[in-house]
């Protein structure tokens, strides 16, 4: 079709679509769509029976974005900051707004530090981290690791080889460092 004012012709009419697709057009009228318009002022719709919620007790200095006026009245209490990762996280929140890349890059760095700290700490417990069970890699054998990948036109295979390096690499490097350290000490 040349470039004219017409929309490309439809392959199926409304009646044909209605016959083929359960519910076709049930929400054709935007008034039937619950998020149209997207903003609809209706304070009675939520179930809230307060103007401003009571404040949850702050059991440790809760880190917060400097783009907030105050600590929100309710907040999550999972995993309080601790160790070096905690120091980094508190610094990222106290110093940089969400608009600064430094804020997010420090938090991402703190996540990696947290993982290392936690792995090391786990070795002092009765349940050290186990990369075999915790990665779930054994499901490769029970869930068709080979048949799910090969003979398929999957494009993600071009980067899946990186995952074992990312996961196992630090562990292998750590073991290597320990071996080298022990050997160096033994040679003295």
């Amino acid at each position: 079709m040349p470039y004219t004012a017409n929309h490309p012709p439809r392959a199926e009419s409304n009646d044909e679509l209605r016959a083929r697709i359960p519910g076709w057009g049930a929400d054709l009228d935007p008034k039937d769509r619950p998020s149209v318009p997207r903003e609809r002022f209706d304070p009675s719709a939520t179930g809230a029976h307060w103007d401003f919620p009571e404040r949850q007790e702050e059991k440790w200095p809760r880190e917060r974005s400097i783009e907030h006026k105050f600590l929100t009245p309710v907040f999550g209490t999972s995993s309080p900051p601790h160790g070096l990762s905690g120091v980094l996280r508190k610094f990222a929140y106290a110093k940089y707004s969400e608009g600064r890349a430094a804020h997010w890059l420090i938090l991402l760095g703190a996540d990696r530090v947290d993982a290392i700290e936690s792995h090391l700490r786990s070795f002092a417990t009765t349940r050290p981290d186990n990369p075999i069970t915790e990665t779930g890699v054994l499901s490769e054998f029970s869930r068709g690791g080979i048949s799910s990948r090969f003979g398929k036109k999957r494009v993600d295979l071009n980067h899946q080889w990186i995952d074992p390096i990312l996961i196992a690499g630090p562990w292998i490097a750590a073991v290597g460092a320990v071996v080298l350290g022990v050997r160096a000490i033994a040679k003295r």
């Binding site: 998020s35 919620p53 809760r62 783009e67 999972s78 990762s85 036109k153």
Partner: protein, 381 residues
């Protein structure tokens, strides 16, 4: 109690954790009966979301039974069977009273750019999630709803995020009668977005992915035409050909931060965390939609920058619409569609996994093994 615990990128395990206490008068404690792993949980699992802490319990899709309520809770009582939207929200702030429940200003001290989400890092408020035996549910009079007797558990579970998000994504597309709608991504949200596009009167729905088993589901479950982008040199050109070189009227990005299709984009984002997300699907959406068309973004991206082709969006005069879905706002209409037989949400559930085996579930879902589309987690199984 037993709970899934994050141990670092690509590593999770089940541990004994302390039972969550009531921390606010409008809290409830819910005993989880079913939870799900969401595609966006994989961004946490892969270490992409800033401030994802070791020790956190993931899971923003769950249903359960009320075990305990705080002193100010009026609408729920112990023993009620409830579905909990993935958004934590107060119901009274500037955004909540306008229906923007996913943008609540009173529940996330860690960030102003996103509201509260269960089990979704401290960037989303630091709340433990529902892949656990018990979970704290703030604002029990606002978020949770009693599950209607006629609604099956797995259907209710899908309403807590995946179905509500897909349906919301189709609404943001502002679909008109006869529109051609292209959906990138045949995961749960993409499948529900495709199905919902028909409800809004689309004349043609095309779903694009590279996983053949998911495209098969898009054909059978969502009645869609499908394209496997791995079979084409340039999927954008194929979409132009498919629309007589006009472009689609509406394109929905249901992929998000870990999009495949360009090695460099994927690796810089998903492996080396140098972008907030891999923008391949979003860029394809911008290039596949017609001038003046609408792109609806349902895929989740991190807060860092991403290499999005904004010049094309500007020059084409596009409308870009996006948000985390205000899940509960969708429920009354979704209930009607389910009762009328237009939607059967649990048709997309492919795996039911005991909580104790959740590490295998995460790996299977992440590596796309065993034709996995939607894994459901069963505590106590």
């Amino acid at each position: 109690m037993r709970a899934m615990v994050y141990r670092g990128p690509y590593k999770v395990r089940v541990e004994e954790k302390v039972m969550p206490p009531i921390e606010h008068p409008n809290d409830a404690i819910v005993r989880v009966t079913l939870a799900a792993i969401c595609g966006s949980d994989l961004h946490l699992y892969h270490g992409m979301m800033p401030d994802t802490r070791v020790g956190m319990t993931f899971g923003h899709e769950f249903i359960g039974v009320v075990e305990q309520v705080g002193s100010s809770v009026q609408n729920l009582k112990v023993g009620d069977r409830v579905m909990v939207p993935f958004n934590v929200y107060c119901g009274s702030c500037y955004f909540c009273v306008r229906g923007l429940y996913s943008n609540c200003h009173n529940v996330n001290p860690n960030a102003t750019a996103v509201g509260g989400i269960y089990g979704y890092s401290h960037t989303c408020g630091g709340y433990d999630g529902g892949q656990s035996e018990y979970v704290r549910v703030p604002f029990a009079d606002v978020g949770p709803s009693i599950i209607p007797d006629w609604l099956e558990d797995e259907d209710a579970l899908m309403c807590t995020d995946a179905l509500a998000t897909g349906y919301f994504g189709a609404q943001l597309g502002d679909i008109s009668e006869g529109d051609t709608v292209v959906v990138f991504g045949a995961g749960p949200v993409g499948l529900f977005a495709a199905k919902s596009s028909w409800l809004m009167g689309a004349g043609r729905v095309i779903v694009i992915d590279h996983l053949e088993y998911r495209l098969e589901k898009a054909r059978t479950f969502a009645h869609a035409e499908t394209y496997n982008f791995a079979e084409y040199d340039d999927i954008v050109v194929e979409m132009k050909k498919a629309t007589d070189y006009l472009g689609a009227d509406v394109v929905i990005d249901a992929v998000g931060a870990e999009a495949d299709g360009n090695f460099t984009q994927h690796v810089t984002a998903a492996k080396f965390k140098l972008q907030g997300g891999s923008p391949i699907a979003l860029n394809w959406a911008i290039d596949s939609v017609r001038k003046g068309g609408t792109v609806s973004v349902m895929g989740a991206y991190g807060p860092m920058f991403s290499a999005v082709k904004f010049g094309d969006a500007m020059n084409k005069g596009l409308t870009l619409r996006m948000n985390q879905a205000p899940a509960k706002r969708q429920w009354p209409r979704l209930f009607e569609h389910i009762q009328n037989g237009y939607l059967k949400p649990n048709d997309i559930v492919t795996h039911r996994i005991p909580l104790e085996h959740i590490a295998e579930g995460y790996h299977m879902f992440s590596a796309k093994l065993d034709d996995c589309i939607k894994p459901v987690i069963v505590p106590g199984a």
